[in-house]
């Protein structure tokens, strides 16, 4: 049976301390109790913690599960506890032999939960904390930890930002509370890391993950905890463990899970010809001669559908099967005084789009060590190293995205030109800029679409980006028991990182307007580190029925970043081998570098109190000082309080089948300064490029200077204030365990880059931009048990989220929405407004289509008889003049949906029978919408999804559900309207795994302790009504926002890099 190693360690440490100092103060009459502790499988359980209740007297069971304990006469109960098992509290009643069978505790009431700067018994926790154990993490084959949490915890939304290998995830704990950075705080073994730290972590090194959701649990982290905290504990070696090697490897192959269905060449030509005909006829539908119309159509679109067949399916062309593999080797061992855990891993994932231009590779190495130096000092050290190589292609971007090009490119154009006779004179003249494949075949240039839309393969050839990152993280800490029960823990944490970002492009001629004359190479380097010194003093003591725990601590954190940028032109050879600055002939922009620091100092404390484990109370307080604020506003103060009551511990409790009930409530305050740069509180002067330059008359460039942004000296902390009521309920001997929470979380004064009027004339200041409220209900149910050799565990979680903007400052609009597309039909599609969910979709209401000319002519402003839609022709969209003012303008736009789900559900199933095991993870969301912007407005002849074709309005099909074929969009059919806001609900089968553990009888001959072989699949099934492909739409990083991390682009699909469907086969071996 697997043990929760680090927790065991902590227990052991506790016991060592108890042993060392529990010399009886006076002679008491004592007696001896002995016994044996076993599991239901009748295996001996070593290391079980046995304590005489109400005292510090205790022992642990030996290797055969036997124990002997000396107890005072007054003792009434013995408590047997062991990680992973339900604790037993047995009355002594003069027995001298007490044998105990411990039941496995799948829902782990007595489980130890990692909390900020310490651990706590789960049954005593008064906040809202979700825990995931290593078994649940390794159930799925995931590159990243975040992925492993999908569908497993209520209140936590984890969404792939895209299917591109190595991309970050959107992790939201209890909704969106800010428009900027909403990342939770990540702490690995006490060491704070950023998002990159998560990307560098090998999931199989993880022992457990705790998610601190409510303010009281997170409050000990003060300013960094407004968006919740994720605590990760990695594996440690076990004491007295003989050396154990294990290997876990898998291989997988991926393709796209879902992608949009597009018109083929025949359908496309039919559609376009119909569009030209309808536009030519216009309002004159009664007088046009068919033949004349066809002549005009022939001249505008000289391709006949019948001759074209299927044409090019660009999506199928750009999506390619991709391999991935992972290998993890780990070693753990322990002696009486020390333990060690070492692991190394290799992970490689290839992207399903972009071939070898979209890949991710990662090496990690970890060592965790624990040593007792003497009976009052122990030290713990950890070192993680990771090296990553990520190649990326642009995504979810209508201008640069490969997927967007594949969707919008016409299906008539082939992938390649047959030969150079198809080239136009100017193309021959620019032949060095034409892109070709390895075999020297030229990628075709469309004769039908132009502008931004081009051959996706040719565009790919101009994107040669990679990022190499190496990072080292370490923590060295010690425990010193100064006096009995008083432990001093100093710790040094550090993180060093080094990144190299390289991109080059050849000179290119993608079409007549997408050209670039000089090849270019750019290198960015960054390096930096984070250094944290922290120290805590813990004091824990039980006096009779009162247990008290005190913590005080402080920390000093210094972050430093340095970056450098160089650009050169005219590369000697256009290959990766020559993608170095020295091989480029001409200097580009002046090389530049920059640096900044960030310092945070903190003081914090906590009081835990419980009375007979029945009445529970915790108080936290933290003061943080950050240099990101002006001298007057540097410190923020973050208190919290939480309480719990466990009626099932009352003597009068007699409800059968309810064997555990805890009612808890908490209130607290957290802060955030993540959306603030180091010197945003002062006005910095920009020089040169950003401040403006002007040439002198002898061609020297003179550098200007101006403030980088409008100053705001009134900046203050972003605070999140949250109340939480919850209950934990164990039924039928804890076979069913239910956790439910209701919370209201107000993020006040969230920091945002204001949208000030343009006439202010300089980039906007950072402001405290209002309050966002997230409130919701979270429910987790776990049902587990066994019947003979059949073991089962079923988990379900449900999350209800209400998100809305409560207030905004009066004279500043914090945000404006996203503008989609180019051309006259482009418009703002979402909105951030008091009383509404963040970034709700905003657009025109439509009322079908104009069936005939009369309907257009009758759709008038009643006051002056002018046409409401003067540019409409039959088949065009009829927009509703909602406010009845006789013009259709933005005041007629309405709320059309919201990006965040109202409900999110997760299901996990684990079954095992003898050597077989099976697991499945499902997740689902409802109540959310997607803005489908995959088809770019204003691009005339670009291709469309089948929806446009199958449901199109034509005179023969007046009951259509989609508007007429459109090339020239005078009526602005493509403008933001309810036609493009789609239901984003989905159900995804995230993972299924089937494994076989080869019986040890067989493997023992090979000196193999355990051998398991498995197959699995991820994203096997997606059920959705969304027409644009994968409904799991992230956001576009950096879109139209200087802070680079805005949520405003959430759920807007501009040609998303689909998440992959992957089939795996794997093996895990323990020696």
């Amino acid at each position: 049976m697997k043990m929760n190693n680090s927790l065991k360690l902590i227990l052991l440490m506790g016991i060592i301390i108890i042993r060392g100092y529990s010399t009886p103060a006076q002679e008491l009459k004592t007696s001896i109790v002995t016994g044996k502790i076993t599991s239901i499988e009748e295996e001996a359980l070593p290391g079980v913690n046995i304590i005489v209740e109400g005292t510090s007297t205790g022992t642990i069971s030996d290797n055969e599960g036997n124990y002997t304990i000396e107890i005072p006469e007054s003792a009434e109960f013995l408590v047997f506890s062991y990680v992973g098992y339900i604790s037993e509290r047995l009355m002594i009643e003069n027995q001298t032999v007490i044998n105990v069978v411990l039941l496995p505790d799948i829902v782990s009431l007595s489980e130890i939960v990692v909390v900020g700067y310490g651990v706590q018994k789960k049954s005593l926790v008064t906040g809202s904390i979700s825990k995931i154990s290593s078994d649940e993490i390794t159930q799925t084959q995931d590159l990243r930890v975040e992925q492993a949490l999908q569908g497993k915890v209520s209140g936590v939304s984890i969404q792939a930002n895209s299917g591109q290998p190595g991309q970050n995830f959107n992790v939201l704990i209890r909704g969106i509370g800010s428009n900027g950075n909403t990342e939770p705080l990540y702490i690995i073994d006490g060491l704070k890391v950023g998002v990159d730290g998560m990307n560098s972590l090998n999931p199989s090194d993880i022992e457990s993950i705790e998610i601190l959701k409510d303010a009281a649990s997170a409050a000990i982290y003060g300013t960094q905890a407004a968006n919740g905290v994720i605590l990760i504990t990695t594996k440690q070696g076990n004491k007295r463990e003989k050396g154990t090697f294990s290997y876990n490897g898998y291989w997988g192959i991926s393709d796209a899970a879902v992608y949009p269905d597009l018109m083929n060449a025949n359908e496309y030509a039919t559609y376009m010809r119909e569009a030209y005909a309808l536009e030519e006829i216009g309002l004159d539908d009664r007088n046009m001669n068919d033949a004349d119309v066809q002549t005009i159509v022939d001249s505008r679109f000289p391709y006949h559908p019948d001759t074209l067949g299927e044409g090019t399916n660009w999506i199928r062309e750009v999506v390619n099967p991709a391999l991935q593999q992972s290998h993890v080797l780990s070693f753990s061992s322990g002696t009486e005084k020390s333990t060690v855990y070492i692991s190394g891993s290799y992970f490689e994932q290839n992207g399903i789009i972009g071939g070898d231009r979209s890949t991710f590779e990662r090496y990690t190495f970890t060592i965790n060590n624990f040593t007792e130096i003497n009976n009052w000092i122990s030290v713990k050290g950890k070192l993680d190293f990771s090296n990553k190589l990520q190649k990326t292609i642009p995504e979810n971007d209508e201008f640069e995205g490969i997927m967007s090009q594949a969707i919008n490119m016409d299906p008539i154009t082939p992938v390649f030109f047959i030969d150079t006779s198809e080239l136009r004179p100017v193309e021959i003249n620019n032949i060095s800029g034409l892109m070709k494949n390895d075999e020297g075949r030229y990628y075709a240039i469309s004769r039908l679409v132009s502008g931004d839309v081009c051959n996706p393969f040719a565009l790919l050839e101009t994107r040669n980006n990679y990022r190499k990152t190496a990072s080292i993280r370490g923590r060295l800490s010690a425990n010193l028991e100064i006096i009995k029960n008083l432990v001093y823990t100093p710790a040094i944490n550090f993180e060093l990182f080094n990144g190299l970002y390289s991109q080059w492009r050849p000179d290119f001629y993608l079409n007549s307007v997408r050209t670039g004359t000089r090849s270019e190479i750019v290198k960015n380097m960054e390096r930096g580190g984070n250094y944290i010194w922290e120290q805590t003093l813990h004091y824990n003591k039980t006096f009779g029925n009162h247990s008290i725990g005190l913590l005080i601590g402080n920390s000093y954190e210094k972050y430093n970043w340095y970056g450098m940028y160089v650009q050169n032109f005219n590369m000697r050879y256009l290959t990766d081998d020559f993608a170095y600055l020295a091989s480029a002939a001409d200097a580009g922009d002046k090389p530049a570098d920059a640096t900044f620091d960030n310092v945070l100092i903190s003081y914090f404390g906590r009081i835990n109190y419980n009375w007979k484990e029945k009445i529970l109370f915790t108080f936290n307080y933290r003061a943080d000082g950050s240099m990101k604020f002006g001298t007057d506003n540097r410190f923020g103060y973050f208190p919290s309080v939480s309480m719990g009551y466990v009626p099932t511990r009352e003597a009068w409790w007699s409800v059968p089948d309810i064997n555990f009930l805890k009612i808890r409530g908490s209130w607290g305050r957290n802060g955030s300064n993540a959306n603030l740069g180091s010197y945003d509180y002062v006005s910095i002067i920009d020089f040169g490029y950003y401040a403006g330059r002007y040439p002198s008359s002898d061609d020297q460039v003179l550098n200007g200077a101006k403030p980088s942004r409008v100053e705001n000296t009134r900046l203050k902390w972003e605070t999140s204030e949250q109340i939480d009521f919850g209950l934990d309920l164990g039924l039928f001997s804890n076979k069913i365990f239910i956790t439910a929470d209701y919370y209201i979380k107000d993020q006040k004064d969230f920091l945002a880059e204001a949208t000030v009027p343009i006439y202010v004339g300089n980039p906007s200041p950072i402001i405290n931009a209002g309050t966002i409220r997230n409130s919701g209900i979270e429910l987790d149910i776990k049902y587990s048990g066994a019947s003979g050799e059949f073991k089962y565990s079923i988990g379900a979680s449900a999350t209800y989220l209400m998100n809305k903007v409560l207030e905004m400052p009066e004279n500043v609009v914090p945000y404006e929405g996203v503008t989609i597309g180019s051309g006259a039909s482009s418009g703002i599609v979402n909105c951030f407004e008091v009383g509404e969910p963040v970034w709700y979709f905003w657009g025109y209401e439509t009322d079908g289509f104009f069936d005939d000319v009369d309907e257009i002519l009758n759709y008038v402003n009643e006051e002056n008889d002018s046409l409401l839609q003067p540019n409409a022709i039959p088949g065009d969209v009829k927009f509703v003049d909602r406010n009845g003012d006789g013009v259709i303008d933005q005041s007629d736009k309405m709320k059309l949906g919201k990006p965040l789900p109202t409900w999110a559900y997760g299901f996990t199933i684990n079954l095992s029978y003898k050597i077989f095991d099976f697991s499945a993870v499902l997740s689902a969301v409802t109540g959310n919408s997607i803005y489908n912007a995959t088809i770019r407005p204003g691009q005339g002849r670009n291709n469309r999804t089948m929806e446009f074709y199958e449901n199109r309005w034509i005179p023969d099909n007046p009951d259509a559900t989609w508007f007429r074929p459109t090339v020239i969009d005078d009526n602005k059919n493509f403008r933001e309207s309810d036609l493009f806001v789609e239901d984003g609900s989905y159900l995804k089968l995230r993972n299924v795994q089937i494994g076989i553990t080869i019986p040890s009888k067989i493997t023992r001959f090979l000196r193999i302790e355990k051998l398991r072989i498995y197959v699995s699949g991820s994203n096997l099934l997606t059920l959705t009504k969304y027409s644009g492909g994968d409904p799991e739409i992230g956001r576009t990083p950096g879109l139209q926002n200087a802070s680079g991390d805005a949520w405003k682009s959430i759920s807007i699909d501009r040609g998303f890099y689909s998440t992959a469907r992957t089939y795996f086969g794997g093996i895990s071996v323990t020696f």
Binding site: P425, V426, G451, S512, V513, T517, Q535, N554, S555, Y556, F569, G588, D589, T595, V599, I601, Y603, G625, S678, Y679, V682, I684, I685, F687, A691, G692, R693, Y694, P695, S696, S697, D698, D699, Q700, V701, L702, G704, A705, K706, P707, V710, P757, I758, Y759, V760, G761, N811, V812, E816, S822, G823, A824, G827, I828, D889, Q890, G940, V967, R975, L1039
Partner: protein, 530 residues
């Protein structure tokens, strides 16, 4: 043991005490704070350069002054891909169907207010009594006037700021154009006595505003302020007369010298936008803000001929292929032919394909003899058979994708013709005692056109059109003369032009700005907020 523990305890206490808030006092490295800036003359000089910068901004998307003003006039059509969707801020400017919510239409508005902010922060920080700063202050006032003058002509009533806006000023209303004009007059009047003459500047400083530039600009402002009941022709004439009398300026002997890099800041140049070859950069569109490198201009590429291909034939025409904007109109060509003004016709316009015997014979330059261009150009309804030659995408002035040829804002020819206009409107030439015809004939004679014995306002209007084609002058001239309704009503029927007299030729206030100002800005008449 006890001793050790006491030592440890002492260390702990010292750590807790030692972690003091002073550790937060980390000064930014390599960063200058506003409080420590604007102290020296060098600081103010850099602030002034920053204030000059927006004057030459060009935009890949949206709103180059060069493109918008030329295509809005009857001298040029927008060009680009037909269908009204290719940089709609340009195609919309051509067809007068701009919408307030059009993509990136706000970049034009942004450019002027960026300039105004930068002059304001300079002026706020400059001690007006510091004699060392007097010229810098005067240049800043010239620039502020320049920005407001463009703004008021594009938009009519605008937000008027003579200081950097505070947090409490994000809901300001528009100020009537008359008050804005008064403000401009004040700034320029302050600047004129302080600014140096052009001949006092060394060669590297010629990009700066001079006394004559301020005088010419103020004279022009007066022309725009003049209406039948309320004229400033005499004030304007006095300013132009002073420039003429200074003797610093003259016409170039050849018309085309105004558009050659060799003669930048030549004798005819009163004020021009400075571009340079020194930025060794490729054109890079910032899709989201619309800015591009503006120390050299991408407008030339934007307005180059689409898929222009001359093969190896570079001896006569040496152009690069561009994106096809700004196409001359037939009306302009006919205006030259009517006047038999073949020098300026052939300098300004290439004949793309033969049109009619009369037009063919007027041209001595058929572009089709030297290269080919995109069939899209031919198909475009904006293509009327002609390409622009003035400010062409000339390989000699290109580095990367951007051109470094300066662009004229005020030429001496403009001063002469404006002087003539004042005189025919009743002003007297107090400085030089000449007639309107005297000045007009100087301009005509240079291009071998016969002298006129007397001139009417109509002669001057015609002369200005022929002289300043593609120099951003025509559209606003039509508006101030009150001729726009006449020219643009029923302009090019069937081609989708939507001239609406209610709009008075003004641009819409960008929808973005209306929304950002919380509705304190009211849209110009005739525009729907969509």
């Amino acid at each position: 043991m006890v001793v050790k523990k006491i030592i440890v305890l002492a260390i702990i206490v010292s750590f807790f005490v030692g972690c003091s808030p002073d550790l937060l006092d980390v000064d930014p490295k390599n960063q200058v704070l506003e409080n420590n800036y604007y102290l020296t003359r060098e600081d103010m000089e850099a602030a002034l350069i920053s204030a000059y910068d927006p004057i030459s901004w060009v935009f890949h998307w949206g709103a180059s002054t060069f493109v918008t003003l030329n295509v809005a006039s009857d001298d040029a059509n927008a060009g680009g891909t037909p269908g009204g969707q290719d940089i709609i801020a340009y195609q919309g400017a051509d067809k007068f169907n701009l919408l307030p919510g059009m993509e990136r239409i706000e970049s034009l508005w942004r450019k002027y207010y960026a300039g105004i902010y930068r002059t304001n922060i300079l002026l706020e920080n400059a001690d007006p009594n510091d004699e060392e700063l007097a010229v810098i202050i005067a240049e800043a006032k010239f620039l502020r006037a320049y920005y407001y003058f463009d703004l008021v002509r594009y938009y009519g009533d605008v937000v008027l700021l003579d200081h950097t806006a505070s947090v409490d000023e994000y809901r300001l209303p528009r100020i009537p154009a008359e008050e804005v004009y008064d403000f401009i007059v004040n700034d320029l009047s302050d600047a004129i006595p302080v600014l140096p003459d052009k001949n006092q500047l060394t060669g590297d400083q010629l990009f700066r505003a001079t006394k004559s530039a301020a005088q010419a600009l103020l004279g022009k402002v007066y022309l725009f302020m003049s209406s039948p009941g309320n004229n400033y022709y005499q004030q304007a004439a006095d300013l132009f007369g002073s420039i003429i009398q200074s003797g610093i300026y003259d016409l170039h002997p050849d018309y085309d010298m105004n558009f050659l890099a060799t003669y930048e800041h030549g004798v005819e140049s009163v004020f021009e936008l400075e571009y340079t070859s020194a930025i060794n950069s490729t054109f890079q569109a910032d899709d989201y803000t619309g800015y591009s490198y503006d120390e050299a201009s991408v407008d030339f590429k934007l307005c180059g001929i689409r898929e222009w291909n001359q093969g190896n034939n570079t001896s006569v025409v040496n152009m690069l292929a561009g994106w096809g904007f700004i196409k001359p109109t037939r009306e302009l060509v006919e205006a030259y032919i009517d006047e038999n003004d073949l020098i300026r016709l052939n300098y300004n316009i290439y004949l793309g394909n033969p049109m009619s015997a009369e037009i063919d014979s007027a041209f001595d330059f058929y572009l089709s003899q030297y290269g080919t261009w995109s069939s899209e150009e031919e198909d475009s309804e904006d293509f009327e058979g002609f390409f622009r030659r003035k400010y062409r995408y000339d390989v000699n002035y290109v580095v990367g994708d951007i051109s470094f040829l300066n662009i004229n804002i005020i030429r001496y020819a403009d001063v002469l013709l404006m002087m003539a206009e004042c005189l025919v409107n009743g002003a007297t030439d107090a400085y030089n005692g000449q007639s309107a015809a005297f000045y007009v004939n100087q301009v005509r004679n240079r291009v071998n056109l016969p002298s006129l014995s007397s001139v009417t306002i109509n002669d001057i209007k015609k002369e200005r059109r022929l002289e300043f084609a593609f120099e951003m002058i025509r559209y606003w001239d039509l508006l101030r003369w009150g001729d726009a309704d006449g020219v643009f009503t029923n302009y090019k029927p069937g081609k989708g032009y939507y001239w609406d007299p209610v709009k008075k030729g003004l641009w819409p206030i960008p929808l973005t700005e209306i929304n950002r100002s919380g509705g304190s800005l009211i849209q110009n008449p005739g525009y729907i907020n969509e």
